[in-house]
């Protein structure tokens, strides 16, 4: 495996692609608290694991164009947002996801005239930062129901999975989009074979608005997985990723 740089990454925040307005990702972290359980009969610290956390911290350039960072970030919603960082834009590349509160949108006007915003996403839904694999290359657009070529995980797993959807705002679409992640035990190339619906995200009946969703499934996940759109619609622009839960994960089902 070759070593990789951070060039060509993507940052999506709850249905907005703000990659083009992000100059720096300062931290993608999953800190774990330590509890001091040192007893009087030992001569060094004893610690056990405490709560996990999640954080993504980045710096954005000011951009007031439609669908860009200012529209995406200025609202500071009270509800959770789903942020994902794609470490590459090819299906099968690694990614990180966070279900978080966006706790700030802090402007900084430097003496040299630079103008940017610091943004911090802090885990807020009871689970830590999650690492998975990208199922879709970059932002994928379907003009009708279609399947993305699946990726081969090499073997099935038995502890469930977590799916991540980013549906991007568009001024043209209509209809209702059914976003699914499918799996197959007998595909040979990611396209052939029989496929089953693994994760059915909520129907997107207002496809002109960006949304995001995290969904989980328990049980067996077959060897091949792929992103799929179903239903009747025009123009679905989206990104999907998947984390297989494995034995030993905090949430293995």
């Amino acid at each position: 495996m070759v070593k990789k740089s951070g060039i060509g990454q993507r940052l999506y925040v709850h249905g907005f692609d703000i990659s083009g307005d992000t100059g720096q990702i300062n931290n993608i972290g999953s800190p774990i608290g330590l509890l001091d359980v040192t007893s009087i009969d030992v001569s060094a610290m004893e610690r056990i694991m405490g709560k996990r956390d999640a954080e993504i911290d980045f710096t954005a350039f000011f951009n007031i164009a439609a669908d860009r960072e200012h529209l995406a970030l200025k609202g500071l919603p009270l509800t959770d947002v789903l942020g994902v960082v794609l470490f590459g834009t090819t299906a099968g590349d690694q990614m990180a996801a966070i279900s978080a509160k966006q706790i700030n949108y802090d402007a900084n006007r430097a003496a040299d005239g630079a103008f940017g915003f610091g943004v911090q996403l802090l885990g807020s839904a009871g689970f830590p930062l999650e690492y998975g694999l990208v199922l879709t290359p970059k932002i994928t657009t379907h003009t009708s129901a279609a399947d993305v070529t699946g990726i081969d995980f090499g073997a099935s797993s038995a502890s469930g999975a977590v799916g991540f959807l980013q549906h991007f705002e568009d001024t043209l679409p209509s209809g209702t989009i059914e976003y699914d992640i499918e799996d197959s035990s007998d595909s040979s190339d990611g396209d052939d074979g029989a496929w089953a619906n693994l994760i059915a995200f909520s129907d997107v009946a207002t496809p002109w608005a960006g949304i995001a969703e995290r969904a989980i499934v328990a049980g067996t996940v077959n060897r091949w997985t792929r992103a799929s759109t179903n239903g009747t619609f025009t123009n679905a622009s989206f990104s999907m990723s998947l984390r297989r839960r494995v034995s030993g994960d905090y949430d293995a089902a």
């Binding site: 129901a145 399947d147 059914e178 699914d180 499918e182 035990s185 007998d186 595909s187 040979s188 190339d189 052939d192 074979g193 029989a194 496929w195 089953a196 619906n197 693994l198 059915a200 499934v217 049980g219 067996t220 799929s228 179903n230």
Partner: protein, 64 residues
């Protein structure tokens, strides 16, 4: 060169789509030959088609 296994094998018959994963009503549960089926739909397979034995074993479909 090693030839990869293909999925073209026996499977003639009629099957009813089940819903072991609790996919919401009205949503696709399985795809066979690129055709989407919902829970309760009937899949008719004739001649040399996919091997659906594993689909049956996993409870996605039941042979009628």
């Amino acid at each position: 060169m090693t030839q990869r296994r293909t999925t073209t094998r026996r499977a003639s018959g009629t099957y009813t789509v089940q819903n072991p994963r609790g996919i919401p009503k009205g949503r696709m549960v399985v795809k066979v030959d690129g055709q989407a089926y919902q829970a309760g739909d009937t899949i008719k397979v004739s001649g040399d088609k996919m091997d659906l034995d594993r689909f049956v074993e996993q409870g996605f479909i039941a042979r009628d």
